[in-house]
């Protein structure tokens, strides 16, 4: 519950607050005298009397408030950090179940277990996310339809849990890259520009995009100021995204190359990393890691801060004076009775 700008853990205790007035309404500690006029007028003792009541009220109120458990609610503060906002676009298609970076055809058709492309991608991305404390990550669900599954967040545990979940079970039969690319851009819609924005695509294949999709993508990416990084998990070691003279006829016209050329043509910062081996994959991520330490406004959540100690200190001070005064009274009364 929120009250007075503080969060109260046990707000029910606040109902006990009126008890703090008790000291003003009773005469438990008064000495009955035969005739009131016998008591001399003594301003000093009047002062002490009121002072003791104030202290008692204070100690009761402070203890009640401490029991109600106030704390400063979580606060979001902005600070300047170094990092980027990264939308992860992880291919969850069937082909990602195949083993990564095999040298010969026979191994390529076996179903990859621990070294499937999906598992390899998970391992390296986990490492990458862990190393980037100030980055904000988002995650796009990439299937027949795309959904901005996890809006940009600083919560690393959540990002890692989502990356890990991505490697479970079999891949999906159908993925739609154009949709996924558009969804990634939409992730930044309505967000204040904080600094470097990256769409990080990790896939083992490309797709042909319709003219309409291409037009939309290039418009949105420019508008949103996005960079594209594509970690391309090669299924064939020799194939390159760039055309070369030694090209096999088989891969002259493949979708990967078309996608690569499209990314190059839209005029946004773009880099492709062709990962043909674990080292190349690690190197690609390390390279992105180096590149993106730009200044960025980072939102940080300060955990909520209990305020009970301050109240207990107040109670301690009050009860210390009270105890001292009552011990002194006790000593005085005993002396008088001796």
């Amino acid at each position: 519950m929120n009250l007075f700008g503080l969060e109260w853990f046990n707000p029910g205790f606040l109902l006990l607050l009126p008890l703090a007035l008790l000291p003003w309404f009773n005469h438990n500690l008064d000495k009955t005298v035969a005739w009131v006029n016998l008591v001399p007028v003594d301003p000093l003792s009047r002062f002490f009397n009121i002072g003791l009541k104030v202290l008692s009220t204070l100690v009761i109120a402070a203890l009640v408030l401490a029991l109600a458990g106030p704390s400063q609610p979580e606060q979001k503060v902005e600070r300047i950090g170094e990092g980027a906002e990264i939308v992860l676009l992880l291919d969850r298609s069937r082909s990602m179940d195949d083993p990564f970076a095999v040298k010969h055809q026979a191994a390529a058709v076996s179903v990859g277990g621990d070294n499937s492309k999906r598992n390899v991608a998970r391992d390296y991305l986990t490492e990458f996310v862990r190393n980037r404390p100030d980055d904000r990550f988002g995650f796009v669900f990439f299937s027949t339809k795309s959904v901005n599954l996890l809006p940009l967040t600083y919560d690393k545990e959540v990002v890692l849990a989502t990356i890990n979940a991505n490697s479970l079970g079999k891949g999906l039969s159908d993925t739609n890259m154009a949709e996924a690319l558009l969804s990634s851009a939409e992730m930044f819609e309505g967000q204040a520009y904080r600094g470097s924005r990256i769409v990080l695509l990790v896939s083992d294949g490309g797709q042909l995009l319709s003219e309409e999709a291409k037009e939309q993508i290039s418009r949105l990416y420019k508008e949103m100021n996005l960079s594209i990084y594509w970690i391309y998990l090669k299924s064939n070691q020799a194939m390159t995204l760039e055309e070369s003279d030694e090209d096999s006829l088989l891969w002259v016209d493949i979708p990967e190359r078309k996608l690569h050329n499209f990314f190059k043509s839209i005029g946004v910062p773009y880099r492709a990393f062709e990962a043909g081996s674990l080292e190349a994959f690690a190197e690609a991520l390390a390279e992105i890691d180096r590149q993106h330490y730009q200044t960025l406004i980072v939102e940080e959540t300060l955990p909520h801060e209990p305020k009970t100690d301050a109240l207990l200190w107040l109670a301690l001070l009050a009860v210390l004076l009270l105890a001292a005064s009552h011990l002194y009274t006790f000593w005085g009364v005993r002396k008088a009775h001796e």
Partner: protein
């Protein structure tokens, strides 16, 4: 009972001294370690077409089963003790797809609900709904997660294509190996199922001739007692309680039909889960401060209203 002035002064002095010590203890007593039992749960939400039927009750209103499932899951997160973990998955076609492994519910509540809000029928990658197989895949995948979560499968139990009870899909695992709860959602009456198109938008209803009405395998079998013509009602949907109960028995899950209180569901989850202890720092300040307060109040209670204290 009447206390003399001298006794009252003595008692007050003692109480104040004890209260002083208690407040000091409240401030400086080190935290003690205490074990709390926490659980790991994986919520699997059915997002197939039949979940769009509006026959679930939420706050007195009729809402779609999916809306109910999402809202109930969100409230269940709130009722789980801090330290417990929750993950999210969706079910469509014949499999469960895990989208977030279990994370701590209190710290990550915001992101959990963000993701949960995104769940809707157009995430479905196919237009079939094979509940039992989806439960099996959820179990298989849960085994890969460390520590193994309890599965909370929220569904109406509508199988499409239908399955004949005697030709239940085979379950390879050991019943009870992974713990779980099947949460049934939906009403008793057969209602038409909204049909979603490619874009995931609702376009009319499934027609009687759009769907299969009999188990494909059963219709191939010669033993005719399986092939008695049945009412053609598979285009309509209600909560399939008996089917879900059978399924729950088969995999060793609990079955809860349309729970009304999220807290109750969390109790069931915690009952079936292998809870694991987690050590937390426990601050005893509340006890010390509480006792100190009670003692001080003893001094100031208005005894005078009930008994005469003068002497």
């Amino acid at each position: 009972m009447r206390l003399s002035y001298q006794k009252r002064i003595t008692l007050t002095a003692i109480i104040m001294t004890v209260a002083l010590i208690l407040v000091m203890a409240a401030l400086w007593m080190p935290h003690i370690k205490r074990d709390v039992k926490i659980m790991d749960a994986l919520f699997v939400i059915d997002i197939t077409d039949s979940m769009n039927v509006e026959d679930a009750t939420l706050n007195g209103d009729k809402v779609s089963r999916l809306t109910w499932a999402k809202e109930f899951t969100r409230r269940a997160f709130l009722d789980m003790p801090c330290g417990a973990h929750a993950g999210l998955a969706i079910f469509s076609e014949a499999r469960s797809l895990i989208l977030m492994n279990p994370v701590e519910v209190c710290a990550s509540y915001h992101d959990l609900t963000q993701m949960l809000n995104k769940f809707d029928p157009h995430m479905a990658w196919a237009r079939s709904s094979e509940v039992s197989k989806a439960v099996y895949t959820a179990i298989r995948q849960a085994k890969e997660i460390e520590p193994e979560p309890t599965i909370v499968f929220v569904t109406d139990g509508h199988e499409s294509p239908p399955i004949n009870e005697s030709l239940f899909p085979r379950f390879d695992g050991k019943p009870g190996e992974i713990h779980g709860v099947i949460v049934g959602v939906g009403g008793e009456d057969l209602l038409p199922i909204p049909k979603t198109n490619e874009e995931g938008e609702i376009e009319g209803f499934w027609d009687v001739n759009d769907v299969m009405h009999q188990d494909v395998y059963a219709s191939l079998r010669a033993d005719t007692n399986m092939n008695v013509p049945q009412a053609r009602t598979e285009h309509l949907s209600s909560q399939k309680k008996s089917h879900l109960r059978t399924l729950a028995d088969r995999v060793g899950f609990e079955f809860v039909s349309s729970p009304t209180k999220p807290g109750k569901l969390v109790d069931v989850i915690s009952k079936v889960s292998e809870t694991r202890p987690q050590t937390i720092d426990y601050d005893l300040y509340a006890w010390f401060a509480g006792i100190a307060l009670a003692l001080i109040l003893l001094v100031y209670l208005p005894y005078g209203w009930f008994i005469r204290t003068d002497d």
